[in-house]
């Protein structure tokens, strides 16, 4: 039980002059003439560039309009999107496996993971794609069976893997090396006490990873992975090295050499790449929101 304080003592405790009573300040804000000048100049230059670009014949906007939804271009855009999605999905899964292997108590698994990173991160993706294209030259047949015995099944490499598949494998294998490091940093960002608490409740290591550690690692993993997806979208323009020529860039190059007009088709390709990137950025925003549960005070 507390005794109610007499009003007189409360008044004595109140700070002198409450905010409502004090006179409002008259504030003269500083002017920033240079800032205003710089902004004005930039706006003028930007406006001039846009007006100029809209009229400049080399851009040939009417041809851009003609080809932006051309059947071949749309199909190529779909192919590029498929290359991106398939190779990223494989890279994320393979990267997670490599990251977990890297933390394994088994030295062989650790070394294999390290070697994979060294090899696939240490050579250019373009060179790797050329190698995948030559797979059929290096390994003529794919044999399934017991080693050094007559194989049960044997088929020719060229029939088993078409250029699209090889492009996906090539992009995915290279990307997995980068994703492994992103996944590893994500797993390391989760306090060890989380796994311990999960295991102490009776979860197996796998359950603790799936339910507790990985969902928390996602928060750290998503922004750099979003980066990688966008980077992958653009790296698909290298698959001509396989050679696979039905992606967005190769297809628009082919069309431009047919009509002897390269610039508008470069614009067509760029517009498609930008459109996909924008959609991916929106997707990333929502994913980040989903995995930010419980972070910070609300």
């Amino acid at each position: 039980m507390t005794t109610p304080t007499p009003p007189s003592s409360q008044e004595a405790l109140a700070p002198q002059g409450s905010p409502a009573e004090s006179e409002p300040r008259v504030i003269i804000k500083r002017k920033h003439p240079l800032r205003t000048l710089a902004a004005t100049l930039i706006v003028i230059f930007a406006a001039l560039f846009i007006i100029d670009a809209s009229q400049r014949p080399a851009y040939d906007w009417s041809t851009v309009g003609l080809y932006i939804f051309d059947r071949r271009v749309v199909q190529a855009a779909v192919n590029t999107l498929q290359l991106t999605i398939y190779s990223m999905v494989i890279a994320v899964i393979l990267g997670l496996i490599l990251a977990v292997m890297r933390q394994s108590p088994n030295p062989i698994l650790r070394s294999v993971s390290w070697f994979y990173l060294w090899l696939f991160r240490g050579t250019p993706v373009y060179v790797q794609l050329v190698f995948w294209g030559l797979l059929a030259v290096i390994y003529q047949t794919v044999d399934i069976g017991i080693p050094f015995m007559q194989p049960w099944v044997s088929f020719e490499t060229t029939l088993a893997f078409n250029a699209f598949t090889l492009a996906v494998i090539g992009l995915a294998m290279n990307e997995a090396a980068y994703m492994a490091e992103i996944m590893r940093s994500g797993l390391m960002s989760v306090d060890h006490g989380q796994e311990e608490a999960a295991v102490a409740l009776g979860m197996t290591w796998f359950q603790s990873m799936r339910r507790i550690v990985i969902p928390q690692a996602m928060r750290v993993v998503i922004p750099p992975t979003g980066n990688e997806v966008i980077s992958m979208l653009k790296t698909t323009s290298l698959v001509i090295a396989v050679p696979y020529s039905f992606d967005l860039y190769s297809r628009t190059r082919d069309i431009s050499s047919e009509i002897f007009n390269p610039i508008p088709l470069l614009l067509v390709a760029s517009i498609w790449y930008l459109a996909f990137t924008s959609v991916l950025m929106v997707g990333q925003h929502f994913l980040e929101k989903k995995y930010s549960r419980g972070a910070g005070k609300k």
């Binding site: 006490g193 311990e196 295991v199 102490a200 409740l201 979860m203 969902p215 928390q216 419980g294």
Partner: protein, 260 residues
């Protein structure tokens, strides 16, 4: 050996338990027995091995040598013909469900609400229907005084509230034994009391508890047995009131003179 109700197996038996991290010998032969329903407080200077010993009981650490049994069976092994066979991780995980643990740093799952923290293990591991698990979790959270905080995330709770959620989370698995690893050491002084109160209630309900703590008042009021560890061995065991007022061993006297 047959079990009879007149002579129940102790909950925990440790005989000559040792543990080293590299050249650092943390446990040098711990002998201890914990009966069912007993509340045992482990005290001792930091580095004396009390937390490590606690973590050996649910096999968060693996002891090197000696005998350590929980509920009559060796921790992490199956004994057959005098040999110890390492158990499958799934079996070890299943055995941990019988043992609740509360950590110094709470270790609540930050991406789950208080309620979700509590229902996680029962739903995932015991396959209890979600509605039933929620009802049970609400009851437990109410019991630890958090009836108004079901949907709060750990970051929205005070340290004391978080630790009480952690107790409820451990209790949701209906363990037979509760381990507390310095449960109040990370708390602001004014929040210590609310957690100790919850633990005291739990002790009254008959739970077997092993508590590593620096709270001598709690040990005096709640524990049946006080154990003083130093240098990786049990130095002195006894009734908490007697031991705190009249320690027998020289090292116990020295330690208590510093903390009391």
């Amino acid at each position: 050996m047959t079990l009879t109700t007149e002579n129940p197996v102790p909950m925990v038996v440790a005989q000559g338990v040792t543990k080293s991290f590299g050249t650092n010998h943390v446990l040098k032969g711990v002998n201890l027995e914990v009966q069912r329903g007993q509340v045992l407080c482990l005290i001792g200077p930091s580095g004396s091995g009390k937390s490590t010993f606690l973590r050996c009981i649910n096999r968060l650490e693996t002891s090197d040598a000696g005998i350590l049994t929980v509920d009559g069976s060796p921790v992490g092994y199956k004994e057959k013909g005098g040999k110890f066979y390492e158990l499958h991780p799934k079996v070890i995980a299943a055995k941990r469900r019988e043992i609740g643990m509360v950590f110094q740093r709470f270790n609540l799952f930050p991406h789950k609400t208080a309620l979700e923290n509590v229902i996680e293990a029962p739903v995932l591991l015991k396959k209890i229907p979600k509605a039933q698990a929620i009802a049970q979790a609400k009851e437990l959270l109410t019991r630890v005084g958090l009836a108004e905080r079901f949907d709060y995330y750990p970051s929205q709770l005070s340290g004391g509230q978080q630790q009480r959620v952690a107790v409820a989370r451990a209790l949701a698995m209906e363990p037979e034994l509760m381990l507390f690893d310095e449960p109040t050491s990370a708390l602001d002084p004014e929040l210590v009391g609310e957690v100790l109160e919850v633990m005291q209630d739990l002790a009254r309900s008959g739970m077997t508890m092993i508590v590593v703590t620096h709270e001598m008042a709690f040990a005096r009021e709640v524990a049946d047995t006080l154990v003083f560890m130093d240098g990786g061995v049990v130095v002195e065991t006894g009734n908490p009131r007697e031991m705190l007022s009249n320690p027998q061993h020289e090292r116990t006297k020295e330690f208590l003179s510093k903390v009391l």
